[in-house]
Amino acid sequence: SQQGEEDPQALSIQEGENATMNCSYKTSINNLQWYRQNSGRGLVHLILIRSNEREKHSGRLRVTLDTSKKSSSLLITASRAADTASYFCATVADRGSTLGRLYFGRGTQLTVWP
């Protein structure tokens, strides 16, 4: 399976703390993306990192990618209660795939307490 797998499955922190989620995958990728989902609603795209990139920032988000280890991490700095959601990594294969085909992991449920 090409699915990414997030770790941990659940993470509980206090406001102001940093949250780190990890993702591992199995096959070569074109890019890796992180999405957020609030309470079983639609997914919102957070950030995309290409296979030739090692680190990317967007606001309070920092994503790293290690293609040799087939792993990625998402860091949310200075967490807020509004960051409470499920976070998914999704991969796009580097060959034989279409732009619409993402392989998702099971997600990390992040809870940020006020």
């Binding site: 997914l43 279409t98 997600g107």
Partner: protein, 114 residues
């Protein structure tokens, strides 16, 4: 601009029935993908359509079918419903010309099969 819209938002069916879910992509997006998300899992790819042609199909039985219309909206049909078809069905559109792989998701249609 309106995002991806899906209808209906919730529906309840009984085993053996048929269901049709509808999706309107973001204006200008020609690619539509469908995903199934079972409770506690990540989304699983069902179909992708681009320019009214099927461009990809996930590991789902023939009871699942879809089509894309000239205005790029799409329908997902599921026949002979099973209890295991209960899930959140997500539609996503993308702009292949941008070659980013980023998907824009609707809020989903939550199907309950009794």
């Amino acid at each position: 601009d309106a995002g991806v819209t899906q209808s209906p938002t919730h529906l309840i069916k009984t085993r053996g029935q048929h269901v049709t879910l509808r999706c309107s992509p973001i204006s200008g997006h020609k690619s539509v993908s469908w995903y199934q998300q079972v409770l506690g899992q990540g989304p699983q790819f069902i179909f992708q359509y681009y320019e009214k042609e099927e461009r990809g199909r996930g590991n789902f039985p023939d009871r699942f079918s879809a089509r894309q219309f000239p205005n790029y909206s799409s329908e997902l049909n599921v026949n002979a419903l099973l209890l295991g078809d209960s899930a959140l069905y997500l539609c996503a559109s993308s702009a292949p010309g941008l070659n980013t792989g980023e998907l824009f998701f609707g809020e989903g249609s939550r199907l309950t099969v009794l």
